[in-house]
């Protein structure tokens, strides 16, 4: 009976007893959730456009951040390093399309998935070879990102300015993306490919261009994520594990849904932080590593295609 109380009742009392702390936990979860959403978004874009489950998304985050920091360390000022990094991401997208996707077109999904793991290995080796394996500091100041914190309720609620900036930039990026997909010619072509690539091909959309483009957009999203996440911790290959954190977001939101990625990211981010903070100690802590998966798994039993995923229709 006492165990039941500590599991099912006590945490809620804790929440009610200190609402400001609860708010703080939710805020932390919200910020993490936004970063998860961004990673998941990169996954979703590529999955929709080319049907590739891009395992390399996590390493692209690290690679982008590492390129930026590495260039800056070699004496290139931030305002030049940033465009160069974007160019590097374009080169990456181009070479992935040319060297990996194009020869493997029409192969089963699992083969393409394995190929992206191959790309991941390659990028890990390549990044470490060029920039070294030791953790680096993100160049927050040079990128004109704010640091420091704002406090509310007599220093009870602390919001890091970088977190606020991260949410703002993420929101901006999402709006840009929505406008780009909805209003521009290329964006509409991209959605056409996502819808049905053969039909798109038959009305004159170049699949190869679209694939380069979609990997490039994912690369830019990875860069944004990398900067934000790097500012919160440091830039190293350990960062790539956040990609694993984004996977439950994907199954929760659905592999093919942009809204799903955003909502799923926030649910996982907030749920994970609340779970860790109020229930984590009961089972020995650090449950963050798998709690998200359990949430997603339970969810899947009721909605196999995720929250916003397209209904899976099978024909025999």
């Amino acid at each position: 009976m006492e165990i039941l109380t500590t599991i099912f009742i006590q945490p809620f009392f804790d929440m009610a007893a200190d609402p400001i702390l609860f708010l703080q936990v939710i805020w932390e979860g919200f910020v993490t959730g936004i970063l998860y959403s961004l990673i998941a978004l990169g996954f979703v874009l590529i999955f929709k456009a080319s049907g590739v489950f891009n395992f390399a998304q996590g390493i692209m985050v690290v690679f982008a951040a590492l390129t930026l920091v590495g260039l800056h360390e070699n004496g290139i000022p931030a305002y030049i390093a940033l465009p160069i990094t974007i160019l590097v991401m374009y080169a990456l997208a181009f070479s992935v399309e040319r060297l990996v996707l194009r020869p493997l077109v029409n192969q089963p999904d699992i083969i393409l998935f394995m190929a992206t793991i191959g790309v991941t290995f390659f990028l890990i080796g390549f990044g470490e070879f060029i920039f070294g394996g030791e953790p680096k500091m993100m160049i927050t100041e040079e990128l004109l990102l704010p640091y420091g914190s704002i406090t509310f309720f007599d220093d009870m609620l602390i919001l890091q300015e970088i977190d606020i900036a991260a949410s703002g930039i993420a929101a901006l990026a999402l709006i840009f993306l929505a406008l780009f997909l909805g209003k521009t010619k290329i964006g509409i072509a991209l959605r056409a490919v996502a819808d049905d690539n053969q039909a798109a091909l038959s009305v004159g959309v170049s699949l190869n261009t679209i694939w380069v483009l979609v990997w490039f957009i994912s690369g830019i999203i990875a860069l944004i994520t990398g900067i934000m996440w790097g500012a919160k911790s440091d830039v190293s290959f350990a960062l790539s594990i956040i990609a694993f954190k984004a996977l439950p977001v994907l199954i929760l939101g659905g592999f093919t849904s942009v809204q799903g990625a955003i909502v799923g990211g926030l649910i996982i981010g907030i749920g994970e932080k609340i779970g860790e903070f109020y229930w984590g100690d009961l089972v020995g802590g650090s449950i963050e590593s798998w709690l998200a998966y359990m949430i997603a798994l339970v969810f899947l039993l009721f909605r196999p295609q995720g929250l916003f995923g397209e209904k899976i229709i099978e024909r025999v």
Binding site: V100, P108, I110, I111, M114, G118, F122, G133, V283, Q305
Partner: protein, 358 residues
């Protein structure tokens, strides 16, 4: 010329149902088994046994298990490392709780724990498919990594947090622990792997294996012809996890000697998946070929500069190792997406028709 089936008539049903219907195949298998049981322990040195052959056999076993699940039953799983960890820790607990029982039996029993866990994590497979399922099985991976790292009961509350393999005998010969010779450990691994591989060959050609393949090829159609998907998928998960569990127990008990849960991390799951894909999905021999490839390539990359006499520091080698492995995987998938087993079957067809083109 040597590889011909012509003239090998099957006159009884028993002959017709043999495991290896072609005479040359049968002799090939006998030669390989005989060679690895008799010649290898005599000629191989400790380095070969410890650094190459033992891990190769253990990885093969695990890849074999995953191949049953992914290659034959079509259920993608990324939780192999987690299932291996279950086997290893179950074996450790069993060995410390029942010190008198024969360790070989305990290794085989520990696979059952892993099979039970596999059953539980296989339940979502009825509702979800493909990559959704793969991500769901990652739950097993992360959960067990956390569980065995956090809950001290699993490593008997020792301070290091690692499981140390005690010395255990098999009829007066130490087969596990620090005093066991490499040869003894090799023989244990070889026996278990051989038996389980033969079981797998038999499984996939029987009723269960055919049901798996029907589910893999089209599950709705399979359901319509009377195969129940849920039990079939669950059996696949259980048997695959059994193989993974035994492989995990062997990995700690005969290869590493002591281990923390980190050795069974997500990279382990991916490595095993690589072996399955590179070896060839849906092929028993593919599991062995893939394991050989993945075990040998890093050793080759590390040693090649030394052999060629190029001075190169170890950190750079490590980086190149990753790069070359990644590039090789992509190249491999481009040139032969069906894996090494497919290459073998092409060679075999050529041999049969030789000297004619077809």
């Amino acid at each position: 010329m040597l590889y011909r089936e012509a003239g090998q008539f099957k006159t009884t049903y028993i002959r017709d149902q043999e495991l290896f219907p072609v005479k040359q195949d049968r002799w090939g298998i006998f030669v390989i088994i005989g060679f690895s049981f008799i010649i290898v322990p005599l000629i191989a040195n400790d380095y070969w046994l410890q650094a190459i052959l033992i891990p190769f056999l253990i990885y093969s076993l695990s890849a074999l298990g995953l191949n049953l699940l992914t290659g034959y039953a079509g259920q993608l799983s990324l939780g192999t490392g987690g299932f291996m960890a279950v086997g290893a820790y179950a074996c450790y607990k069993l060995v410390t709780v029942f010190p008198e029982t024969n360790v070989i039996i305990l290794i085989l029993i520990s696979g059952l724990f892993s099979a039970g866990i596999g059953l539980i994590f296989g339940i979502p497979s009825l509702r979800i498919k493909g990559f959704y399922l793969a991500v769901a099985t990652l739950a097993a991976q992360f959960f067990f990594e956390w569980l065995f790292g956090r809950v001290q009961w699993f490593y008997n509350y020792n301070n290091s947090g690692a499981i140390e393999v005690p010395v255990r005998n098999f009829f007066d010969i130490a087969v596990t622990g620090p005093t066991a010779t490499t040869q003894a450990r090799y023989m244990v691994v070889l026996c278990i792997v051989t038996v389980l591989a033969l079981v797998a060959v038999n499984l996939v050609r029987g009723r269960i294996g055919r049901a798996w393949m029907a589910i893999r090829d089209m599950d709705i159609a399979a359901e319509l012809i009377g195969i129940r998907p849920f039990p079939t998928k669950l059996i696949a998960f259980a048997i695959s996890s059994y193989y993974a569990g035994v492989a995990g127990a062997l990995f700690v008990f005969t290869y590493l000697g002591s281990a923390e849960v980190e050795v069974f991390d997500i990279n382990m799951s991916f490595e095993i998946l690589f072996m399955v894909i590179i070896g060839g999905l849906g092929s028993i021999s593919g599991a062995f070929l893939g394991a050989a490839f993945i075990v040998l390539i890093p050793i080759l990359i590390t040693n090649l500069p030394l052999i060629l006499g190029i001075p190169i520091n170890s950190a750079t080698v490590e980086h190149f190792n990753f790069m070359i492995l990644g590039a090789l995987i992509v190249l491999f998938l481009i040139f032969e997406p069906h894996g090494l087993a497919k290459i073998w079957s092409i060679v075999r067809e050529k041999l049969r028709a030789w000297p004619f083109p077809y």
